[in-house]
Amino acid sequence: MMPAIGLDIGSMTTKAVVVEGASVRARVMIPTGSVPRRAAGQAYREALRQAGLQGEPPAVVTGYGRLDVPFAARRVTEITCHAVGARFLFPEARTVVDVGGQDSKVIRLSTDGRVLDFVMNDRCAAGTGRFLEVMAAALGLSLEELGPASARATRELTISSLCTVFAESEVISNLAAGEAREDIVAALHRAIARRVHGLASRVGLEPEVVFTGGVALNAGVVRELERLVGRRLLVPAEPQFTGALGAALLAETGGTP
């Protein structure tokens, strides 16, 4: 089989994956920045370079920036791409939860991997990755520190608002009241998990549940979501690449979902 390339132009990060047969030959991730098509071009070239490929193989492009990529051979939504990617990694997947920078979505799959139903969060970024970035900054923590910090929580606090603006002020007043950062972080994770779980309940949560997107790197959110779902979630080793992987697989087969 010829190598094939998929691009996922997310609201925060742009990902490129090159696949050949059943194996990944290269993957690249860069910030999307303000000009999605520039990030797309850069990730495309870099991925081809890493894979040592000549020429310009046709790319399947997904993500919110997909319409802004002039060289896209095909544009496919994230719903389809995440479904294909997750299913490739975990053939037993029946539900896919993707929480990225600005979107969260839940996809229900049939036993043969077709998309049966999906939901996406509405319009605002409340309770997505961007929300966590703002909160991490307010707490003086890096993104990587959030998960480990919440594991050390000892007290159950509640953050009631998922609006980024209100939640930030709740965080600050909690800090001012002398609450421990660890407890606040855990409360934020719980708030996000509750929201995602609510979304997921709309399409029904069939096991196995795969968790993808950058927020799946946050062990704190994973833990809280597992608690609500009542079972272990399957998290890919590199959850952020799931959509680009799906796009690359679609490019390889030339097929529809």
Binding site: T77, R114, F118
Partner: protein, 409 residues
Amino acid sequence: MGRVTGRLKVDGRLKHLLVAHYRDAYLARRLRRPLAWVSSGAPVELLHAMGIFPVYPENYAAVCASRRMAVELAEAAEAAGYSPDLCSYARTSIGSMLAQRGPLNGLPLPAPDLLFAASNICGVVVKWWEVAARHFRVPLFILDVPFLAERLTPHQVEYVRRQLEEAVAFFGRHAGRRLSSRSLSRVLRLSAEAVRLWNEVQLMRRAVPSPISALDTFTNLFPMVTLRGTRACVGYLRGLHREVAGRVARGEGPVREERYRLVWDNIAIWYAFGFMRYFTERGASFVGETYTWAWGEYEFGPDDLRDPLGSLATQYSRVILNVDLGQRLDRLLRMVEGQRADGVVFHSCRSCKTYSLGQLTLAREVQSRLGVPTLVLEADMADARAWAEQSARTRVDAFLELLEGRRKG
């Protein structure tokens, strides 16, 4: 593969009808014709039969929305203290009342001589009409229609029928008009004829390809809503019927290659017709809408003419927003199957709680009983501030990919 056609030719007459209707409304006072504001679920036949000119604030609000004026009017109402959570039709109408502005030559809806609303669509409309009654200091008649859970009881019919008698007396008192049974029969016959034609047009969409899509019916709904019971309405629908039948015979439709057949639930998004065209461009036709279908539910048979008020009471109790979810589900399932649809799009309308509540249950039932996929889109029929077109398009793209996967699978 069907031939593609653009807008319906009768659409040209539609604009004419709309202009004439509102012109007559503005002239009513000068012609000494009493003018009533009437809610969409009120038995308008009574007014026609009594020579009272009806206008629909809801339709007017929809016109405001399609001319992109609803938001500023809603803002005027909000500035006066009305909650943004209130139905956007109500906000638009109240805003237009307060600001004395509107999209038709800059004019608001002409002031009413009396007000007539029925509670069979929602509770908002009752309060909205009360606001108008205080504003214009004109008499108001509220028809209380009990919610129809499972079955319509004789007692319920009687309760509504008696109120209709009161309404007739009320209109007589305040508008100085009387009801003759002859003119009521005439109006009911015209209404029945319009309904019959409308329903036939709807059923013609069973054809593959569907001869028309949602954009056509949402536009062509106007005479059914505002002119039902008049000759003009019947005349228009005959033309529509002829044209649609011609399209079916020639295998024409609005979509180049009909790949997906969809059903729409809830009110149109009046300011986003470009978005509806997006479906057509992607090969998706709407073969039915619960909303446009609702105006085909007023079926008066010859028997009904014997007890016209009783029959009005029955018909107007059964409107889609006045029945329980089970009955709504039945109607929806029948439409999906009958029209050979392969997907249902639910517009979850922020304003209209009566219509939108329960949609998730309907969606789940459609999926599990018919195996037909569903999509929920969040929007509002008039308030464009609740609308994010790009993300809606992404959802549509994903939904069509899903349907495409089923075609292949």
